[in-house]
Structure formats: structure tokens, C-alpha cells
């Protein structure tokens, strides 16, 4: 989505952290977005030369992803937060179930077309572009979507 960055293959990634929550529990407490985003960003920061500053930087996008999940998540199932690490990059994945309305708005054409803001991920895309963080979405299964952000450790903060 942003830049020429070629994402490392999945095999090069190692698990860093995983968190699973009941979707209904997550969806009823907005405060959890901030808590979870900070938790994940702190771990992302640990891979950087300047952990505190990179945690602050990555928490902005992590939070936007978690908030997007909060607004889109369906009432049943679970939401998974995963962090994976390669040498140069930390990948954040958030997968969650969609409700009927969500399935329509997250269908592939809706994401790739349309103006920012009208599609569910518009704000997130705008932020990703501003901060130079590569984002992608996987909505290939019917009732689930996965949001993926690639934090390239050498970029973003100087």
C-alpha cells in the first residue's frame, strides 16, 4: 500500500506475542483499545534501538488498527492479536469476525476503491501513508478480516 517495500516471506517471521479475546467482551469496552495498543506497541518497541520512542510511534497505528477492529467486529467468535518478528520488521496482525454489515463493507472492491473515510479502513490507510507504515488487509475468508501492519524498524523515527 505504501512505498516499494517488499514484505519478508512469512517463513522468515517468528512469533513474538499473541493475545486472544472474546469478540463480544472486546466490543463492549472501548478503553481496551488503548490498553491493548499500548501493550502491543511496547513489545514492538523492544525490537528497536530506541524502545520507548518507537513504542510511542507504533502505538499510534496499533491503536488505529485496534479501534478499527473495535468498530467492525461481529458479536460472536474471537479476536486475535499477533506480533511476528523478522530481522528488519515487526508484523502486527489483528484478525476478527465480521457481522453482516461488516462483511459488505469489508468486501475486497470496497476496500480497494472508494474515497478514504467512506470505507472502513480509510482513516487507517491515511495514517499508514503519513507514517510510512505498510498496511494490508486479508478478507479472503467470508466472515473474518485480518489487518496487517509492517513496522520496519529502521524507518519511522530518526
Amino acid at each position: 500500500m505504501t512505498g516499494q517495500y517488499v514484505s519478508p516471506k512469512s517463513a522468515e517471521f517468528q512469533d513474538m506475542a499473541a493475545l486472544t479475546l472474546d469478540a463480544a467482551l472486546f466490543a463492549c469496552e472501548f478503553r481496551l483499545c488503548d490498553t491493548i495498543a499500548e501493550y502491543l506497541a511496547t513489545i514492538i518497541g523492544q525490537s528497536h534501538e530506541d524502545p520507548a520512542r518507537y513504542a510511542n510511534f507504533s502505538s499510534l497505528l496499533a491503536n488505529e488498527i485496534v479501534e478499527l477492529a473495535f468498530r467492525s467486529v461481529g458479536p460472536r467468535g474471537r479476536i486475535d492479536f499477533n506480533l511476528l518478528k523478522s530481522d528488519a520488521c515487526v508484523r502486527m496482525k489483528v484478525g476478527f469476525p465480521l457481522d453482516k454489515h461488516g462483511r459488505d463493507s469489508w468486501s475486497a472492491p470496497a476496500i480497494s476503491s472508494g474515497s478514504e473515510g467512506q470505507q472502513p479502513a480509510g482513516n487507517l490507510i491515511m495514517m499508514g501513508q503519513a507514517l510510512g507504515v505498510t498496511l494490508s488487509f486479508d478478507s479472503s475468508t467470508d466472515d473474518r478480516v485480518t489487518l496487517i501492519a509492517e513496522f520496519i524498524l529502521q524507518e519511522g523515527i530518526h
Binding site: F30, R31, C33, D34, E38, E49, D50, P51, A52, R53, Y54, A55, N56, F57, S59, L60, N63, E64, E67, N123, L124, M126, M127, A130, L131, G132, G156, I157, H158
Partner: protein
């Protein structure tokens, strides 16, 4: 009520003509932005020249808040093209300039500036590279005293430690080697010092020190993280030491301790030529005070720590002297002081050559006292700590 509702603010500062945004701005809905939006809108409307929107203390934002601010700024830009709106961002908060720049591309009268100087009046001197050798020698000389003192103030093996305003990181590497902390974070606002610090740590094979570029008066660190927080020779260079102490208090765990060292420069002494030395160090104190720095702070430590809310306060003094190891080290330190104080600082204050000559003489006499076979030269330091109550 959610934490995000409570933890941000927008205020107008009349003196600087600036709207100050601060805190964690992560509202769930745009309605939660209402009062902040009102402050921004009202103060933009009320000013027709240049208005500053200061975001240096805005540590977090979400797109709900950002879009709300963006809309206000963009309509204010369009409403009056003569009015300039300057968004001031912090170099420490890495997301803020790139994010706010997205607004500037559409509005010619909206500018984004990155602010990373003038945190305090003496910053240009202190962050200058010429300070590096001074800090090196100072730490080498103070460590032989502090190693024991730190234990009396509660430092022991296995603690989470933060060294705030760490300079070139020598103290952090010493702590790492002698006290085996579970976590060690070292923060400073001088990129050159941090680069140096990272290099030194790498040379010693010390990999686990977390060096961070930050502003000690607004740290990007969570509350209640550290058992022992140190801030050495640095409170005295801030014009608002209380603001810094509040941050040190915040990151310290309840029951943990904050340890500070400060000087009283006018008490530097030497024999022979004690009068000339005394005169010069009196002048050092005045010179620093001209730049709003208080190098007489040492004996005020107890009051500062008490006012900041600490209890179980301990204060002790020690004197670094020419008899601590190699007298040449002491002499080097004084020469480095002379270089900066009688050099750029006195010149910046506009001191006349006669004054500077006499000012330098006291340093030269101090060096002589340090190197003289029967001489004695001293530099007194106040080490103090307080406990954050449970």
C-alpha cells in the same frame, strides 16, 4: 468514564499566542472532543496574525481526534488566508510532524515546525559536543564516591533503573556493570551524547541498556515503572526543576527512590590561591543564573524533593578532590569547565575581556592547586534521594 476522556486538554496561552494541546487524545467519539474543539476554534477566530498550535505535549492521538482538529484548522485557514497557523511538533514524538504535515500540503497558510531546542535556557551549551569530555571526566571522578553512596540510598542488585538526562551514558554503563539491574533505561535529549553512549556501551559489550531520545519534562514512559530513578547534575540546568521532578516521581514505582545530584559551585575550593578560586566560582554561579540555571542547587535538594511529594529523604555531600586518583583528571575537568564557561557562555553574556581574563585566572589557579605537590582542590556535590510514598 474512559481514561481517554480525562487525559487530554486544549488551553490557550496568551503570552505566546499559542493553543496548547496535551495528553492522550484518544476519544471514542467526536463528541468527546467538544470542549477541546471549542478552545481551538475560539482562539483561532480571535486572532488574525499568527497563531501557534503547540502539540509538543500531545503524546497520543487517534484519527477521531485528528480529523476533528484537521477540520477546524482547515476551515480556519480557508476563512482567513492572511492568518498563519503554525503547528509546533516535538522532535521526540516521531509521529507528530509527519501526521500534521498531511494538513499543511493542502493549506498554504498552515505550517508545521519541529521544535527541539530551547527546552530550557542553557540548552545550547549543555547539548554541545564540547560538554562530552567534561561529562566523561566528571563521572570518572564522582563514581569512586557514588558507588558507595548509591547503596546507602537504596540501590542494590536486581532493580529496574532509569537514568534521566544520562548524558553520554558513562554512569549507566557503570550501573550496569556494578549493580546488575533487571532493566536499565537511559534518557537524554542530546542526540550526539546518545550516539556516543550507544557506541561506548557496544564497545563494552553491554547490549541491554535502553537508550532513548526524550524530553525529561515530558517522558514517553509509563507511570510507576522503575525502582530507582537517577538524575545527576541535571535538575540544576532546568529553569523549572519542579516539572522535571514531577516526571521523575511519575515514572518511579511507589516505594522506589529518586536519586539526584547537584552542585554548589560557589563552594568549589582550592589552596593555594583560594581567593582567586573563590571569586571565579562565585562568578560561575552568577553566570549560570544569567541563563536561568541554578548551579547552587545542591543544598536545596531536601526542599525540592519534599515539595515534589517524596518522603524518607536522605541528603549527603561529598567532595571530589585532586587526591582522588590522578590529579591530572581533576585538572582536565577544570580546564574543560574554563573552556565552556569562560568561553562561549561568558562571551554569549557579553562579558568584557577584563572580566574574562580574571574569570579564567581562577580556573587556572584551581588547576594549579590540583597539580601542586602540596595543593588541594575540591568540588563539592550534594547527593539526595527521596522515596515515592506507597
Amino acid at each position: 468514564m474512559s481514561r481517554s476522556l480525562l487525559s487530554f486538554s486544549a488551553e490557550f496561552n496568551d503570552v505566546n499566542q499559542e493553543i496548547l494541546l496535551s495528553g492522550r487524545m484518544r476519544p471514542q467519539t467526536v463528541q468527546e472532543m467538544a470542549s477541546a474543539a471549542e478552545v481551538i476554534r475560539r482562539n483561532l477566530d480571535g486572532h488574525s496574525n499568527t497563531v501557534y498550535v503547540n502539540t509538543r505535549r500531545l503524546t497520543h492521538i487517534n484519527m477521531t481526534a485528528f480529523n476533528c482538529i484537521a477540520e477546524i484548522l482547515s476551515s480556519a485557514c480557508k476563512a482567513d488566508r492572511q492568518r498563519k497557523i503554525v503547528i509546533v511538533t516535538s522532535s521526540v514524538i516521531a509521529w507528530s510532524a509527519p501526521l500534521f504535515r498531511t494538513l499543511a500540503s493542502d493549506e498554504p497558510n498552515l505550517l508545521v515546525e519541529i521544535y527541539d531546542s530551547a527546552f530550557y535556557p542553557g540548552q545550547t551549551f549543555v547539548e554541545d559536543e564540547s560538554f562530552i569530555p567534561i561529562l566523561r571526566t566528571q563521572t570518572k571522578m564522582t563514581w569512586r564516591h557514588e558507588r558507595g553512596i548509591l547503596g546507602r540510598h537504596g540501590l542494590r542488585d536486581g532493580l529496574a533503573i532509569a537514568d534521566i538526562c544520562c548524558g553520554i551514558g558513562d554512569f549507566a554503563t557503570l550501573i550496569k556493570r556494578h549493580f546488575n539491574p533487571t532493566r536499565l533505561l537511559a534518557l537524554d535529549h542530546s542526540r550526539k551524547s546518545l550516539e556516543y553512549a550507544r557506541r561506548v556501551a557496544a564497545d563494552f559489550g553491554l547490549t541491554s541498556i535502553e537508550y532513548t531520545y526524550g524530553d525529561a519534562s515530558q517522558m514517553l514512559l509509563a507511570d510507576n515503572q522503575f525502582d530507582f530513578v537517577t538524575c545527576r547534575h541535571s535538575l540544576q540546568i532546568f529553569d523549572r526543576p519542579d516539572v522535571l521532578l514531577r516526571e521523575l516521581y511519575r515514572i518511579c514505582k511507589p516505594g522506589g527512590r529518586v536519586y539526584i545530584t547537584n552542585e554548589k559551585n560557589s563552594h568549589c575550593l582550592g589552596e593555594p590561591h583560594s581567593e582567586s578560586i573563590r571569586w571565579t566560582y562565585d562568578q560561575v554561579a552568577r553566570l549560570f543564573s544569567h541563563f536561568d540555571m541554578d548551579v547552587e542547587m545542591g543544598p536545596k535538594s531536601r526542599r525540592l524533593l519534599t515539595d515534589a511529594g517524596f518522603d524518607a529523604i536522605q541528603v549527603e555531600t561529598f567532595m571530589v578532590t585532586n587526591l582522588d586518583g590522578d590529579p591530572r583528571d581533576f585538572a582536565n575537568m577544570i580546564e574543560a569547565w574554563e573552556n565552556v564557561y569562560a568561553g562561549q557562555m561568558a562571551v554569549r553574556r557579553g562579558d568584557p575581556p577584563d572580566f574574562i581574563r580574571r574569570f579564567r585566572q581562577g580556573f587556572k589557579d584551581h588547576v594549579l592547586a590540583a597539580l601542586h605537590p602540596k595543593g588541594y582542590a575540591g568540588w563539592p556535590i550534594w547527593a539526595a534521594s527521596g522515596r515515592k510514598p506507597y
